[in-house]
Structure formats: C-alpha cells, structure tokens
Amino acid sequence: MAEVKEYWRWKEYNWKNPDINWQDAAVITAGIDVGSVSSQAVIMCDGELYAFSNMRTGSDSPNSALNAINWAMADTGLTQKNIHFTVGTGYGRVNVPFADRAITEIACHARGANYMYGPTVRTILDMGGQDCKAIHCNEKGKVISFIMNDKCAAGTGRGMEVFANLLGVSIEEVGERSLQVDEEPGPVSSTCVVFAKTEATGLLRSGWSTEKVLAAYCSAMAHRVVSLLERIGMEEDFAITGGIAKNVGVVSRLEKELGVKALKTRHDTQIAGAIGGALFAKALVEKGKK
C-alpha cells in the first residue's frame, strides 16, 4: 500500500540558549504544557529562557510530559534533580507526574505572553491545537478576563489540519498558499468543520483553486475568533500565540478585520504556556512553596 502523506504533520524540535550556563543559575524552573495536540517543555534559569522542546503529544500524557522535558534537557547536562520547581499546565496538566503544581493554561499563557511580548500586552489570543482562548491581562500578566473555546474544532489547529489533509497541502504551507489569490473570496459559510469540508468539496468541484478555498477557510477562521475577542474586550497591545500564530493566512486576515497589528516575538509562539508555567514555578520557589 502506498504510504499516506500526512499533510498535518509539523516539525518537532528542541532549542538551547548558548548564552546561559545553568550551573551559574540560582533558581532553575520548568514549565510543561501538555496540550491535546502538542507538548512543550521550557526550562528557565533565574527567569530567563534557557531551553525548550516542542513536540507532538502522544496518546499517553505522562509519557508526553517526560519526553518533552527530557528532550528540552538533551545536551545540557541537566537532570530533573537540578530543577527546583516544575509546573504542569495545559489540557493534560494533571498528567504531569513529576510536576510540583498544576496551573491552568489561561494563567500560564497570560504570564508567558507577558514575558515574550513585554508588559504592554493586554490581549492575548491563543490559537492552539484543540482550543482557542482569548485572555485580557494586566501589566503583570495577571488575568483580568478570559474566554476559552475547546468544545468545537472550528477555529483550532485541529480544524486547520482537517483542511490541510482534505486539500493535500502541508500545514506549514497553508498560510502562504492562502495568500496566493488574485481576489479575496468571501469566507466559507459553514462554521462547523464537518460541514465546511462538504462546502469546500463543492467549491473545488465548481472550479475554485486550492488557494482560493484555503483563503476562504483562513478568512472564516479569522472572522470566527474576532467574536471571542469582542466578548472579553479587545485592548492593545495585542499578541497571538499557539500554532496558528505561525499561519500568516489567518494572522494577516485577523489583523485586517480587527484593524490592529499583532506584536511580533523572537520566541516560538507555541511555548507561551510552558514559559508561563516556568515563571509561576520561579515565583512559587521565591514564595518558599518548596
């Protein structure tokens, strides 16, 4: 049987900050974000990003957490014994057996975004694999209000994966390809991913190009999350985190609809939750919680 190409698959990787020597650090903390689709582990030395890993979540969450932290520590000489405090977060946060505490992904994302984008960030949109969150926070990264949608696949990375597979376009190319249209089509009218698939099949059959269908879907996704932002009260500065933040097709359409530019970061947008976890861990060490 011919191998089935998995268009949804994105690259897993790890990273280490060459400018930091962990042996010099007073407090080493870790944040593990076990999402339904991806898992990240972040290690921070005195509140500075030292190393992280970003990988796909396996069917067994405790293993995903362990794999992620081990990969983040790879080639650093660190072992779990050197880590003073570990916070687990994300959908699988209760499944991080070696965590000292579990904290919700809402609080961790706000904290992490505050680090990644600076204290001017007030609104964070996290578009993850299986959920979409909008968070309004203060200058310290404390949550003022939030809304989370994890019931419905529309507006999530999973929904985008379904489309990537349907159209035979690699998930990492969806954004770019969706911008290769002469004229911007109207958004796909069905919100539901199941119905949108049927709609897309009909559009392709009626002669639409793959790019045009992708444009219509990216635009529908952007339109959909705007209402979540409106519900919590959109305030600048604005940042987008999560896997979809890497999809220029959704981000540019979202910026256009909101009339607001999203802040840029040099960090991987998928590690906001894990960074927040590691920062919470540091604060908890300083409070003497361990």
Binding site: K142, G155, S190, L228, R231
Partner: protein, 93 residues
C-alpha cells in the same frame, strides 16, 4: 477576573460568565445549591482565591445542561443568577 465558561459553535455562543472578583467576597455562594442540575462548583483559582466556576464536565455542553432553565418559550428560570447577591453571573444566550 471575568471567567467565561462554555463555547461557541456553529449554532451559536453559549457562555456563562462569572465575575470572580465579586464572587470572592460572597460567603455562602448560594448559586451552588440553586442550580437544579448542579453545574457550578467552588474551587481555589490560580491566584489562590476561592471562587465559583462551571464544572469541567459541563463546559462543553452547557447549552444542553442549561436547557431546562431555558424553555423554547415561556419564562426562563435562571436560578443561579437570581440567588447571586453580588450579581456575578451572566448568561450569553
């Protein structure tokens, strides 16, 4: 913090929002008992404040969980909202 529990899907927006800053000061939290199907719970949030939230198992189906208090016609009976003295609970639908 204003916590919005629920979801948005193709059929609409279904959120219960709870203003936990108002909730902290409320001693009795009568909403917990008032809800006929007990979808609310008391818990310590990430900032260690004791607040009320919607139970995990109802968050993805509150449109269905709350259906009995919201008949298609006739009077809505949002028991949780009625007993909430600080006015911390709102329904989006």
């Amino acid at each position: 913090m204003i916590a919005n529990y629920g979801y948005k899907d193709g059929s609409g927006d279904f959120f219960i929002s709870i203003d936990t800053d108002k909730c902290i000061a409320c001693e009795d939290k009568p909403c917990l008992e008032a809800c006929p199907i007990k979808i609310l719970e008391k818990f310590a949030d990430d900032y260690d404040d004791e607040v009320v939230g919607v139970k995990e198992e109802h968050r993805k189906k509150i449109k269905y969980s709350c259906a009995e208090c919201k008949p298609a016609s006739g009077e809505r009976n949002l028991a949780c909202q009625k007993v909430c003295q600080p006015g911390a609970i709102e329904h989006s639908w």
